[in-house]
Amino acid sequence: MRKTFIKRESLASSVGLIELKGVTKEFGKRKVLEDVNIIIEEGDIFGVIGESGSGKTTLLNLVTGFIEPSEGETLYHSKVTQGPENLNANLPKLKKFIGFAPQHNSFYPKLTVKENLLHFGQLYGVKREVLINNIKNLLQIMSLYDERDKLAEHLSGGMQKRLDISCSLVHKPKLLVLDEPTADLDPLLQKEILWLLQEVNKQGVTVVLASHHLDSIEHVCNKVAIVHKGRIRNYGLIDEVKKPFLKDYFTINLRPGDSKDKVLAVLKTLPVKRIVDEGNRLVIYPNDTQKTVNGLLNFIKQESLYLHDMDMRKPSLNEIFERIASE
C-alpha cells in the first residue's frame, strides 16, 4: 500500500473539542506554561512543537487531563452534554473520549497483541462484540493482524509503536494525543506511523501530537502550536503560522561555467531590489516575485541555459522554529 501524506485541513471543522483557556501550569515554584489559550477543533491534526523543556509535554498532559492547570481551565466540548465541561472536574466521565500514547510504549510486553488490546478495551468498558470489531479493524489498519498472537515484547520497534497507538485507539476515542510518536524510529517507520495517524484522523479522530520531527508535523498536521519558554508563540493553521515568517527572496544555483553574467544582466531588467552574488548561488530580492521569476525563466529558456536549482520555498517550520529559538 502506497502511503502518501495529504493535508488534512479539509477535515477540520469549526467545532472546538478541547479548549485551553488562560491555562498556566506551575510545578512548585517553576512556571512551565503561562497563559495558554488554544482551541483544538474536531478533525484537527494538531502539532505541538517546541524545544526540550519548553512545555510541550505539559501542554499534552493538560490536554489529556493527566495534570490540572494551576490557573485557567481545560474545557472539553462534549456533544453529549451540549456544552463545554471542565476536563479535570469530569475526567472520570471524559476519559473514554481520550486516547493517549505516551512517548514510550505503554502496554504489557508479556501479553500478546490481542490480549493487550482486549485488556485495555475491556477496561474502557467497550462491549465485547464492539471491541472485537474495533480490534480487528485496528489490527488491519495497523498491519498487526498476523502478529496478533505474538507477545508484545517480541514485536519489532515499529510494530510496538503501532500496537501502542492501537491500545490508545481501542476504545474509539474522539481525541488521540501522542507524545513524540516518531521518536527513536527510523525514517521509514516514522513515515509509516504518520501515515497511520492520518488514517486514524480520517476515521474522525482528532489527533494531537508533539514531535521533534518538524518536517513530519508540517506534512501531517493542519494546525500547529509553537511553544517557547512556556508560552504559545504561534498557533493556528500552518500557513497562518508561517505567514509572519515568509521569505522576501529566492535563490538560484547555477552550474559552474554557466553564464552568470547573462543571468545577472537579465535580472537587472526585472523588478529586483537587490542581488547577492554568492558565487554559483545568487540570492535575489525581488520587488515583484511573480514578474521576476517569469522573466528569469523565459530568459533561461530562450538562451537554453541550465538552471541547476531554484529555491522559492516558504520557510519551513524548522526555519521558523530556529528563528524563534534564536530570539
Binding site: 509535554t57 476519559k95 477496561l123 530556529e322
Partner: protein, 577 residues
C-alpha cells in the same frame, strides 16, 4: 589494580546515588540495631502474666502473689474456678496458671503441691515460664524448708536447754543416790557386823536324858508301888517287888540328886553354867546387834528419805523428759525429703499432648502466609509500577481503588492456592485440623490480606523492585523478630512488648493457635479477628493515600524523565535541527 579500584568506585557511586539503595544500605543496619537495642536493652523481669488460683486467699497465698508482683510478674487473681484461669491461658490472656494450696504450711510428711498449667504450644516460652516462675517457688520452698528446719532446730534447742537444766537435777540425784548407796552400804556393813553365830559348845544332855529316864522310871516305880499298895492284898513277892521298885526309884533319884547337886562335869550346875555363859555371850551379841540394827535403821531411814527425794527428782526429770519428748514429737515433718522440699511443683498442659508440628503449625502457617503475601504484594505492585503500561492505566476510566483491589485480589488468588496446598498437606499430618479448617482458612485469608496490603504499600513506596523486595523481606523479618517466634516477646523491653502485641503476625498466630490447639470457636476470638480486619481496612486506606500521593509524584517523575530523554535526544539529533 587501578581498574579494580575504578570499578569499585563506580559501584559505590551508583549505590549512593540510587537513593533507595543508599537508604537501605545505611538505614537498615541502623534501624535493626536500634530496634535490637531498644528491644533487649533491659534487665527487667520477663513480661509474664501469671494467673493465680487458690481455694482461699490466705496470707500465704497473698504474700506469694505479692512476691511475684515485686518480681515484675503481672499477677491475675482468679477467685471463681481453676477452669477460668486455664481458659485464659488458651486465649493468651495469661501465660501460666498456678494452682496454689490454701497454705504453704507443711503439717505432715506430705509436701504441698503447686500445679502449673502451661500452654505447651508456646514451645519457646514454656521452659522460660517454668524456669522463672518456678524460681519463685524454689525460693518459697527454700523459705518453708528453712522454717521447718528452724522448727526442728528450735525444738532440739529447747530439748537441749531442758536437758541441760535437768542435768543438774540428775547430778543431785546422782549425789543423793551415791549418798543413799553409801548409807545403805554403811547399814549393810553394820548389819553384816552383827554376830549371830551361836556358841559352838556341845552340851552333854545325857544327864538330862538319864535323869529324865530315871525320873520316868522312878515315877513308874512309884506308880507301880502305888498300884501295889492299893492292892493291899499283896503277897510277899509283891512286897518285894514294891520294895525293890522303891529302892530302885530311890537309887535313881539319888543319882538325879547327885546330878543336880554336883559341881563337876556332867552335872546339871555345870551344864547350867555353861548355858549361862552362852546366854551371856548371846546377850552381848544381841545387844550389839540391836545397836547395829538401830544404827542401820537410822541410816536406812536417811537413805529412804534420800531415795524419796530422788523419786521426786526423778519424777520431775521424767516430766521434763516427757515434755522434751512431747516437744520433739510435735515435729510432724520427719521425712527428710519433705523437709528439704516442702513444696512440690507439678506441670500440667492445658491442651492435649501433641507433636511439635501441632505446636509450631500456627506459626509456620502464618510465617509462610506473611512472607508470601508481603513479597507477592510488593512484587505485584512493582511489576505494575515498572510496567511500560503503568502510565496508560492513569488514562483508563477506572478508580484507583479498582487497581488496588485488583492487585490485592491477584495476590489473594495466589495465596488462596497456597493456603489450600498447605492446609491440604497438613491434613495428612494433623488429624485434628479438619473441624477447624474453615475457621483457620478465614483467619489466614484476613492475615494474607493484611500482609498483602503491607507488601503493596512497600511496593508503592519504593522505586526499584530490588529495594522493594529487600524492604519487604526486612519488614517480614522485623515482624518475625518481634513476634515471639525467634525469641519470646516476653523477653523484650516492656514498651516494645506493648507494641508487639499489635503485630498482626502475633495476632494471627495467636488466633490460629487458639482455633487449632484449643479448638476455640470464631466467636471466642471475635475481638482479635476484628482487630485483624481493622488492620486490613486501615492498610487499604493507607495504600489509597500513598497511591494518591504517588500520582502527584508520578507526574513529576514522568515530566522529569521525559525532559531528560528529550534533552538527550536533542543533543543526539542536533544536526537535524
Amino acid at each position: 589494580m587501578q581498574s579494580l579500584w575504578l570499578l569499585t568506585k563506580k559501584n559505590i557511586k551508583l549505590l549512593l546515588r540510587a537513593k533507595s539503595s543508599a537508604l537501605i544500605v545505611f538505614l537498615a543496619p541502623l534501624l535493626t540495631i536500634l530496634i535490637l537495642g531498644l528491644s533487649y536493652s533491659t534487665s527487667s523481669q520477663y513480661g509474664i502474666n501469671v494467673g493465680i488460683y487458690a481455694p482461699a486467699y490466705t496470707d500465704d497465698v497473698n504474700a506469694f502473689m505479692e512476691s511475684l508482683q515485686q518480681q515484675d510478674f503481672k499477677v491475675v487473681k482468679y477467685t471463681s474456678t481453676l477452669e477460668e484461669c486455664i481458659e485464659d491461658i488458651k486465649v493468651s490472656a495469661i501465660h501460666t496458671c498456678i494452682s496454689l494450696p490454701e497454705s504453704f504450711m507443711v503439717e505432715g510428711n506430705t509436701p504441698k503441691e503447686v500445679t502449673f498449667y502451661i500452654d505447651p504450644s508456646r514451645i519457646n516460652l514454656v521452659w522460660m515460664i517454668q524456669e522463672t516462675v518456678k524460681n519463685e517457688f524454689n525460693l518459697k520452698s527454700q523459705e518453708i524448708s528453712q522454717s521447718l528446719a528452724q522448727d526442728v532446730l528450735t525444738k532440739l534447742s529447747d530439748a537441749k536447754i531442758q536437758i541441760g537444766e535437768r542435768r543438774n537435777e540428775a547430778g543431785a540425784i546422782k549425789e543423793k543416790s551415791s549418798s543413799a548407796a553409801s548409807s545403805v552400804s554403811s547399814a549393810q556393813s553394820s548389819l553384816q557386823s552383827i554376830d549371830v553365830t551361836a556358841p559352838e559348845s556341845s552340851y552333854d544332855l545325857t544327864i538330862l536324858n538319864t535323869t529324865s529316864v530315871d525320873i520316868r522310871e522312878a515315877l513308874d516305880s512309884i506308880i507301880a508301888a502305888v498300884g501295889t499298895v492299893e492292892d493291899a492284898n499283896m503277897s510277899d513277892s509283891d512286897k518285894s517287888n514294891i520294895i525293890f521298885s522303891l529302892e530302885g526309884a530311890q537309887e535313881k533319884l539319888d543319882g538325879v540328886l547327885i546330878a543336880v547337886n554336883g559341881t563337876g562335869a556332867g552335872t546339871l550346875p555345870a551344864l547350867l553354867l555353861a548355858l549361862q555363859n552362852d546366854v551371856d555371850v548371846a546377850k552381848a551379841k544381841l545387844t550389839a546387834a540391836g545397836e547395829a540394827i538401830s544404827s542401820s535403821s537410822s541410816t536406812i531411814s536417811s537413805a529412804g528419805t534420800t531415795l524419796q527425794e530422788m523419786v521426786t527428782a526423778l519424777d520431775a526429770l521424767q516430766t521434763s523428759l516427757s515434755s522434751v519428748q512431747a516437744n520433739l514429737e510435735s515435729q510432724r515433718v520427719t521425712d527428710p525429703a519433705t523437709l528439704t522440699n516442702p513444696l512440690v511443683t507439678r506441670v500440667e498442659k492445658v491442651s492435649k499432648e501433641g507433636t511439635f508440628l501441632n505446636y509450631t503449625f500456627p506459626t509456620l502457617l502464618v510465617l509462610v502466609i506473611m512472607f508470601t503475601s508481603l513479597l507477592l504484594g510488593t512484587i505485584l505492585v512493582m511489576m505494575e509500577k515498572n510496567s511500560p503500561a503503568f502510565l496508560r492505566n492513569f488514562f483508563l476510566p477506572l478508580k484507583k481503588t479498582t487497581f488496588i483491589i485488583s492487585t490485592y485480589l491477584t495476590n489473594l488468588l495466589f495465596i488462596i492456592v497456597q493456603i489450600i496446598i498447605i492446609l491440604g498437606i497438613s491434613l495428612f499430618f494433623l488429624e485434628d485440623l479438619l473441624p477447624v479448617l474453615p475457621a483457620i482458612a478465614l483467619v489466614l485469608f484476613i492475615a494474607a490480606s493484611i500482609f498483602t496490603f503491607l507488601g503493596m504499600a512497600i511496593g508503592y513506596l519504593f522505586t526499584s523492585e530490588e529495594t522493594g523486595v529487600l524492604a519487604s523481606i526486612s519488614m517480614g523479618s522485623l515482624l518475625l523478630f518481634i513476634s515471639g517466634v525467634v525469641l519470646p516477646i516476653e523477653t523484650i523491653s516492656p514498651w516494645l512488648r506493648e507494641v508487639t502485641s499489635f503485630n498482626p503476625f502475633v495476632i494471627a498466630e495467636k488466633l490460629i493457635r487458639e482455633l487449632f490447639i484449643f479448638q476455640s470457636s470464631l466467636l471466642d476470638v471475635g475481638v482479635e479477628l476484628l482487630i485483624l480486619v481493622g488492620y486490613a481496612v486501615a492498610l487499604f486506606i493507607i495504600i489509597l493515600i500513598i497511591e494518591s500521593l504517588l500520582h502527584q509524584h508520578l507526574v513529576h517523575k514522568f515530566m522529569k524523565i521525559h525532559h531528560k530523554a528529550n534533552l538527550q535526544r536533542e543533543q543526539r539529533n542536533k544536526g537535524e535541527w
